[in-house]
């Protein structure tokens, strides 16, 4: 009998302490992933379905993986919805001007350099130029998707009329037949303003997703029915509902939240960012238009990109391109979430399109072409100012 009371009190105490003895939640602004605020219950349900398909749905041979592929799930390349790691970059090849890809017959544009057991992966055919591409973070894409074409055109200055040496231009590209243009989309000579991908060659998130299933994992869908290995049409290996859930999931991922915004160093760095012209391409604030997802509609947000193509000079020119971009042209990547990138990349930074820059400073110093002047601006900063700018970039 004498044990009952102590035993029961220990049990009661332990039950009470469940909450205390479990790991605490990290701060919301320390996390890249998570849903937008203000989603309806239906939207949260769909977010969950998309989350599972994106992060947990691992393709196996039985589920259609390959035979040739790059990886086996979206989440393996975009871990934690963040940027990728060079161990899983992929290579595209076979196009060096605006006349299209001349190596489509030999497996272009994407190199599937992995194969299921018993098969041989692709190799880059001789004579084809190529570019390695590191997975970008996928957070906040719904906001970028909801910016009107007109706004992006207003930011562009293809002929550098204002004479600042920076001439961002929209990527006018053809769209796939399954892609439905945005309401109020603007076309130019039958081409559409495309904004996703490192060369800005993909029009929207459906295009990007259906193509990722097909080219990154060898998974066919109603949208992309051709198997990359055989080149033949196959039954869908992922259903249309799942593709749509993933697209909606991508749209409903929250925008990365900045940290330390009241820090004086950070504030000073933010000023410098504009003064030395970084903001001319990495546009701090954009505006969404109409969106069927209410939580996204008509809002100002801070991605630090203009979604336009810029000539980045010979150092970043791999000799490979897509659509109507030139080989030296890259789409300005958003800088939001920059300071959290390393957390998803194995603890250290891999920046720029192929991860060649191992720190934020290295990334800046590799800017050239239209960004030459901005880079010089950085080089000429006093050491304390450089630190302020870097602090600001890390706070994003």
């Amino acid at each position: 009998m004498k044990y009952i009371f102590p035993l029961l009190s220990i049990l009661m105490f332990l039950l009470q302490s469940c909450e205390l003895t479990t790991p605490a939640a990290p701060q919301e602004n320390e996390l890249l992933d998570g849903p937008l605020e203000g989603l309806s219950m239906e939207q949260q349900t769909q977010f969950l379905r998309g989350d599972i398909a994106f992060n947990d749905d691992i393709f196996t041979v039985e589920k259609g993986l390959g035979p040739i592929f790059v990886s086996n799930s979206c989440g393996s390349c975009h871990a934690g919805d963040g940027k990728g790691n060079p161990f899983i970059t992929f290579t595209r090849f076979g196009q060096n001007d605006t006349t299209g890809n001349h190596f489509l017959e030999q497996g272009g544009p994407q190199l599937q350099h992995k194969a299921i057991p018993g098969y041989q992966p692709e190799r880059i055919p001789s004579g084809a130029s190529s570019s390695d591409l590191l997975a970008p973070a996928v957070t906040g894409l719904g906001f970028l998707d909801a910016v009107s074409d007109a706004d992006l055109i207003a930011l562009s200055d293809p002929d550098d009329v204002d004479g600042d040496g920076i001439s961002g231009r929209p990527h006018w590209n053809n769209i796939r037949d399954y892609v439905a243009p945005r309401p109020n989309t603007i076309t130019k000579n039958g081409k559409y303003l495309s904004r996703f991908g490192k060369k800005g060659a993909a029009y929207d998130l459906l295009d990007q997703t259906a193509n990722a299933y097909n080219q990154d994992m060898g998974i066919t869908s109603l949208f992309e029915p051709l198997d990359p290995y055989s080149g033949l049409e196959e039954d869908p290996e992922v259903n249309t509902q799942t593709v749509n859930d993933v697209v909606t999931y991508l749209k409903m991922l929250k925008a990365p939240l900045p940290r330390n915004q009241d820090d004086t160093q950070v504030k000073a760095g933010k000023l410098i960012f504009s003064q030395i012209q970084c903001a001319a391409c990495h546009t701090p604030t954009l505006q969404t238009g109409h969106s069927p997802i209410e939580a996204l509609a008509n809002q100002a947000f801070h991605p630090y990109t203009d979604l336009l193509l810029h000539d980045m000079g010979p150092e970043l020119d791999d000799g490979y391109t897509e659509g109507y971009a030139l080989t030296a042209e890259w789409k300005t990547p958003p800088l939001w979430g920059l300071g959290l990138s390393a957390d998803a990349q194995g603890g250290s930074y891999f920046l720029l399109h192929d991860g060649r820059a191992r720190s934020i400073e290295e990334a800046i110093l590799m800017h050239g072409g239209e960004a030459e002047q901005a880079k010089q601006g950085y080089v000429e900063l006093a050491e304390t100012e450089k630190q302020q700018l870097l602090k600001f970039l890390e706070s994003l």
Binding site: M1, Y3, L11, L14, C18, T21, T22, P23, A24, A25, P26, I58, T60, V61, E62, L65, F69, S71, N72, S73, S76, A79, G80, N85, P86, F87, T89, H113, K114, A115, I116, P117, G118, Y119, Q120, P121, D343, A344, Q345, G346, G347
Partner: protein
């Protein structure tokens, strides 16, 4: 041919129903307590880990050639990761039924059927005929438990102070890993020393170990292959062998090996792939310190898997894992009128690295590693029943070796032979 693993509950019900009828008929004819005898587990020091299958309490009814036994375990779980909890759940983990029969003095049969998570997984974990020629030479055939490490053959819930099974046993090795096959085993004694060996050929692994939804080289994925009792996936037997040595005063140590070709490299005379091997080496140990009564048990496992170089680095070719349990009895007396009750403090350390090595591109360490500590309090009203309260804190790193995800769980449950 019938697939053994997915037998429907029906035949079992019929069999156990018949047994019950048979037993109760003869019980009615005589007095109950004189008839049913509890044959408790042998706790003598001549037992090795390999004897675990027979070292269980059984119920026998006089003159009946069959002995029955089993165990049941259930628990509650409260788990939380990074501030997000799935709340409280109740789990009916396992119901296991053993049936053994002495067909002859030197021919025995034993089977173990397990229902996991309700009726989600129903399996025959063991069903073998043992024929003894000499203590040092016995034949065993049927569905056997491969003697790799210690836990696989010695997995009964009531024997452990922890609700969860060791990670190295179930998430690196595929415990309970049993297969159709046969082999030999034996023991010899000299003074305080006991030497035991086992060697079996069985069906084995298949491509699932490098092609699965765990997205890692994962030996337990081979258990998805329900046809492994019916036929080998590739016509290549899996060899499992173990030698154990025990000193009655010091403890037991075992060295085991399991290996073979795992993939389907040809079918109908057509070549599909090269032959690819899986090899596993394990060391296990257990000892009870005479002075303090402290019981220590554990196993250390290394695996090597031939993964095609053109496949993805997510699937590692080298793995390792370990677990160590330390159990300290702190009270051994009559508690709540239980004559021989024990209260134990215990702790487990778990560690598994599913992908040893570095990335080709960056030379950085590949992650995919887990470690956990589990302090526990267990109460045994009798040696065959255990109530256990566990707190498990776990760190798990993803493939890229990012900062570990931390999670904690509280588990409270019981496990008891019946």
């Amino acid at each position: 041919m019938k697939i053994f693993t997915s037998i429907s509950p029906r035949p079992i019900r019929v069999v156990s129903g018949l047994l019950f009828l048979f037993a109760s008929a003869s019980i009615q004819a005589q007095g109950l307590d004189t008839l049913i005898q509890r044959v408790s587990a042998d706790t003598s020091t001549s037992m090795l880990n390999m004897d675990a299958v027979y070292n269980r309490p059984f119920l026998t009814v006089e003159k009946m050639p069959v002995a029955l036994g089993g165990y049941l375990e259930a628990n509650t779980l409260y788990q939380s990761e990074a501030g997000v909890s799935e709340g409280l759940s109740f789990q009916a983990r396992r119901l296991t039924i053993f049936m053994s029969a002495s067909i002859n003095k030197r021919i025995k049969f034993l089977s173990e059927m397990e229902f996991e998570d309700g009726t989600k997984e129903i399996g025959i974990e063991f069903a073998a005929l043992d024929v003894s020629f000499h203590p040092a030479l016995n034949f065993r055939g049927g569905i056997i438990m491969n003697p790799i490490g210690a836990f696989n053959q010695n997995h009964d819930g009531p024997k452990w102070e922890f609700v969860e099974r060791p990670d190295v046993a179930v998430n690196l090795l595929p415990a309970t890993w049993s297969n159709a096959g046969f082999g030999v085993y034996g023991k010899t004694y000299k003074g305080d020393w006991i030497l035991g060996y086992e060697a079996y050929l069985t069906n084995g692994f298949n491509n699932n170990i490098i092609d699965n939804e765990a997205s890692k080289t994962f030996l337990p994925a081979a258990k998805e292959n329900e046809r492994r009792f019916e036929e080998s996936s590739n016509g290549q037997p899996l060899l499992t062998g173990k030698v154990s040595i025990k000193n009655r005063k010091i403890g037991e140590i075992g060295l085991s090996y399991m290996g073979g070709v795992y993939n389907k490299f040809e079918e109908d005379g057509l070549t599909l792939d090269e032959k690819r091997r899986v090899d596993v080496v394990a060391i296990d140990w257990n000892t009870t310190m005479q002075k303090t009564g402290t019981y220590i048990v554990g196993e250390l496992v290394y695996t090597w898997v031939d993964v095609p170089s053109t496949y993805t680095q997510q699937f590692g070719s080298k793995q390792k894992g370990v677990f160590i349990d330390v159990v300290q009895p702190i009270l051994k007396k009559s508690i709540f009128d239980w004559d021989n009750a024990t209260l134990n403090l215990a702790a487990r350390f778990d560690y598994v690295d599913w992908n040893l090595g570095t990335f080709k591109e960056t030379n950085a360490d590949i992650g995919d590693v887990l470690w956990a500590i589990t302090p526990a309090i267990s109460f045994r009203p009798s040696s065959q029943t255990v109530f256990r309260l566990n707190y498990r804190y776990q760190w798990q790193k993803d493939l890229l070796n990012n900062a570990p995800a931390k999670s904690a769980s509280w588990l409270f449950g019981f496990s008891s032979y019946f």
